[in-house]
């Protein structure tokens, strides 16, 4: 279905509501580059999001869009994908959306393994609501809502995903564009649920995890790293301090949900006829 010659221009160029310097700009560009690079045309793509700064991303490119509720992008995305397996479904939402309000859907999606991609713009803060701690905000960080410092231990999405043996787990950084494009492409092509947690500086509210904080720490996993080695992945998952690894942390090939449901394998549900004869014989059983 993918045509080889889709240009990034096909995805358009829009004004945004983001702050100058925000990491989201670079992520948006990587997303467009990745989609175009895969030869996907805008109408073949469905971008799903919740509410937050990250969640505005789908408004800034050409695609089908389902911009739903804060924290609820994953269920909507899975419902859409199960109903039309031909759509490439990409979820874009923040750390609060994905791991806070949407935490239950996150762990359920890891288990369900529907073939969608989650790009979690992880700025370790609630951006749109002006800087309260998110699940990934570091312990001790002071915010207006946490004047005594964050007391919860941070949520480690990579560790939880690897621990749950999710089928594709990667970490990117808005400042490492080329790598990010590759990760997004691999995530989209992975036949199952793919998580890309993307480190993203929020210049307005996160003065701890700044661009240079990330820049100084991130490094790219090299060829010697084997993402199919679960124990190695579990170890890498906890590297989030002096050094932060970027790349595909873990991958396996457990079957995706859709592949096991006959109706889904038959293509878009909207195009499947209603077998009235079958229904007649079903109803006859009640006579």
């Amino acid at each position: 279905m993918a045509s080889p010659d889709v240009s990034i221009e096909a995805y358009g160029e829009y004004e945004t509501a983001w702050c100058p310097g925000c990491g989201n700009f670079a992520i948006l560009k990587s997303v467009k580059t990745a989609l175009a690079g895969l030869g996907l045309e805008p109408h073949q793509v469905l971008m799903v999001s919740g509410i937050g700064q990250a969640a505005k991303t789908p408004h800034y490119l050409n695609a089908n869009v389902f911009n739903g509720l804060h924290g609820r992008s994953l269920p909507a995305a899975q419902g859409a994908k199960l109903s039309n397996p031909e759509l490439k479904v990409v979820v874009e939402s923040g750390d609060g959306c994905s791991y806070g309000e949407g935490g239950n859907h996150f762990i359920a999606a890891l288990r369900r393994n529907v073939d969608i991609t989650l790009l979690a713009h992880d700025n370790q803060i609630y951006g749109l609501t002006k800087g309260q701690a998110s699940p990934t905000t570091m312990e001790g960080q002071v915010t207006k809502a946490q004047p005594g410092g964050v007391m919860n231990s941070p949520f480690n999405p990579i560790a939880v995903a690897v621990a749950m043996k999710a089928s594709f787990v990667a970490r990117g950084f808005s400042g490492s564009g080329e790598l990010l494009v590759k990760l997004i492409q691999q995530a989209i092509e992975h036949p199952g649920f793919a998580l890309v947690d993307i480190l993203q500086p929020c210049v307005s509210f996160n003065k701890t995890n700044t661009f240079s904080w990330y820049r100084e720490r991130v490094y790219e996993l090299d060829e010697s790293y084997d993402p199919t080695d679960w124990s190695a992945a579990m170890e890498k998952a906890y590297e989030f301090g002096e050094k932060i690894p970027l790349g595909v942390i873990y991958r396996n090939d457990r079957p995706r949900l859709g592949s096991r449901i006959p109706a889904v394998s038959a293509g878009p549900l909207a195009k499947q006829p209603v077998p009235m004869d079958t229904l007649s014989s079903i109803m006859a059983k009640y006579a």
């Binding site: 269920p75 419902g79 006959p262 109803m283 006579a287």
Partner: protein, 563 residues
């Protein structure tokens, strides 16, 4: 009160299989041409406690349960304690020879002798009942064949043998109960419960997706869809919670699948943010809201009509919706079917409001004519590239309805947004656009109003007493009105199978024509009466309310009316 119906109540502990006896007898009666109304009363537990399965049957239409018991089948001693007091003068207790029926007229059945193994006790009970009621032996025998056929001929034969032994035992024992008169029911009738009818109605409407989280008494809607899912091409997904269920359903609907989300009170409360989302993104979706008594967990296996207000106002902000409230099992089918088309036509959430009583109540239903169903209303699938380039999901129209394209079916980009949005679906904070879009959405309410199903009116046009009701109480109210007429009161019934929107102008004259209006509903505040006053300004003179978890009977209505 006396009537020609026979009410058979089978009581016992959860896990004793009384629903099996009940369903097989009920189906035998339906196949034999009789009318039935089943009331299932069960507790929120898996074994033990005490449950009943009551079948009221007659050659004439029966539309409601009744208190009086003509035959009480006591599978447990407690059945006698709890229910023998309701026995009719010429009633009969059927009880195992090892249990005690006290002074109540009874037949002691040696179940252990008739049924070689405990597992056959249910069939033995079926045989006893069939014989007492004078049912043709071939009816239950064939039913056994249909039911156990796939388990092999041996099993069938064993069961039929027990049936025959039980029927023979009745004849030999000289046990006596008047035979049912010859029945009138036609060919091909179905035996269906309310929830089965909702599931079948959805299938007939082309449902393709169902997401749910288990919750009594709505679960069986999903379970019925699941059992036919593979054959009918329906994807049914058990979600991690109700919030996931509604959002998954909206995603599926967006991608073009006709979607139903079955749930009950507390589960639906969790979905209300999603209902609001459906409102602003204008996504067709059907909710089957099967009510039980609240607040909170309340009485989880019992019946109530107290979530009307919740369905009416669920979701923050303002947007149109339609709410159906089937009053018969047949209406459960018809209105669920209709709900899908109305949801698509007006791109709005549509509710089918039922309750535990109706969900679990089996009835004899005339066969549905699948061929005669209207053509489904469908979204835009194909579109040429030129049209696609101009496509706007929320184009302003006179009707408020914007053509709804399905993403991925053409080059049109379909953009749905929970924020206020421009016609092309993108986020905006512009005042004028806001007002234009809100007005557009609200205009769909006029379309919905134009398609409202008027209430069913039975009786004199200027009655002394008009009984207003909605949803599952229909049967009991009709029966109560008939009794009133039989005793000389001019009584009429106005039953709403659609409770929202309401057509105030049409209603007022009918309400005002009655000398007195009483509203009958299964809740503690009279929610529909209040809605009626909100919409028409008309205040009913009396609210007849019941909220102990049990369905209305004619007697319980008449008692409150002081009749």
């Amino acid at each position: 009160m006396s009537d020609a119906s026979v009410n058979i109540c089978i009581g016992g502990e959860a896990g004793q299989g009384l629903a099996t006896v009940g369903q097989m007898l009920a189906k035998s009666l339906v196949r034999g041409g009789y009318e039935i109304t089943v009331h299932q009363d069960y507790m929120s537990r898996i074994r033990g406690g005490h449950n009943t399965f009551s079948i009221r049957t007659s050659t004439e239409s029966v539309t409601a349960p009744i208190e009086r018991i003509d035959i009480l089948v006591a599978l447990a001693q407690e059945t006698v304690v709890l229910h023998a007091g309701d026995l009719a003068d010429n009633g009969l207790v059927i009880i195992d020879s090892e249990l005690d029926a006290g002074d109540y007229p009874h037949i002691k059945v040696p179940f252990k002798e008739i049924a070689p193994k405990a597992i056959f006790t249910n069939i033995a009970a079926l045989g006893i009942l069939a014989a007492l009621l004078g049912l043709d032996r071939d009816i239950p025998a064939k039913l056994i064949n249909d039911t156990f056929g796939k388990k092999g001929q041996e099993i069938v034969d064993q069961n039929v043998e027990v049936l025959d032994k039980a029927m023979a035992w009745v004849n030999e024992s000289g046990a006596d109960f008047p035979d049912l008169p010859p029945a009138k029911g036609g060919e091909g009738r179905l035996m269906l419960s309310g929830n089965e009818a909702i599931a079948l109605g959805a299938l007939a409407a082309g449902v393709k997706f169902c997401s749910f989280y288990p919750m009594t008494p709505s679960t069986s809607v999903a379970l019925n869809l699941i059992s036919y899912g593979a054959k009918m091409g329906v994807v049914v997904e058990q979600a991690e919670d109700e919030i996931a269920a509604v959002n998954m359903g909206l995603g599926a609907s967006f991608a073009g699948a006709r979607t139903i989300v079955p749930t009950s009170g507390g589960g639906f409360a969790l979905m209300t943010e999603g209902v609001s989302l459906a409102g602003i993104i204008e996504q067709p979706i059907v909710f089957a809201l099967v009510m039980r008594p609240g607040p909170a967990t309340g009485l989880p296996t019992r019946s109530e009509q107290a979530d009307l207000n919740l369905a009416l106002y669920a979701g923050h902000g303002e947007f149109p919706r339609a709410i159906y409230a089937p009053g018969t099992v047949g209406q459960c089918f018809d209105l669920t079917h209709k709900a899908f088309d109305v949801a698509e036509k007006y791109q709005s959430p549509v509710f089918v409001l039922s309750d535990q009583f109706q969900a679990d109540s089996f009835r004899a239903v005339e066969p549905f004519h699948l061929d005669a169903l209207p053509e489904p209303v469908l979204p835009l699938m194909e579109m040429d590239d030129a049209e696609a380039a101009k496509y706007e999901r929320y184009a302003i129209t006179d009707s408020g309805v914007s053509p709804r394209a399905v993403p991925g079916m053409s080059r049109a980009l379909v953009v749905a947004d929970s924020d206020e949005h421009t016609p092309d679906g993108h986020i905006t904070e512009d005042k004028m656009v806001r007002v234009a879009q809100q007005d557009k959405r609200m205009r769909k309410g006029q379309g919905l109003l134009s398609e409202v199903i008027p209430p069913e009116y039975v009786g004199d046009e200027t009655p002394d007493l008009l009984l207003v009701c909605w949803g599952s109480t229909r049967g009991a109210v009709l029966e109560a009105a008939q009794e009133l007429r039989d005793t000389g009161t001019s009584a009429a019934v106005m039953h709403f199978s659609q409770v929202y929107p309401l057509n105030a102008q049409d209603l007022l004259p009918k309400l005002e024509a009655a000398n007195k209006v009483a509203c009958v509903e299964s809740n503690a505040t009279g929610q529909f009466a209040d809605l009626l006053q909100r919409e028409t300004g008309y205040k009913v003179a009396q609210k007849v309310l019941r909220y102990d978890g049990w369905p209305f009977t004619a007697a319980s209505i008449l008692e409150q009316l002081g009749a």
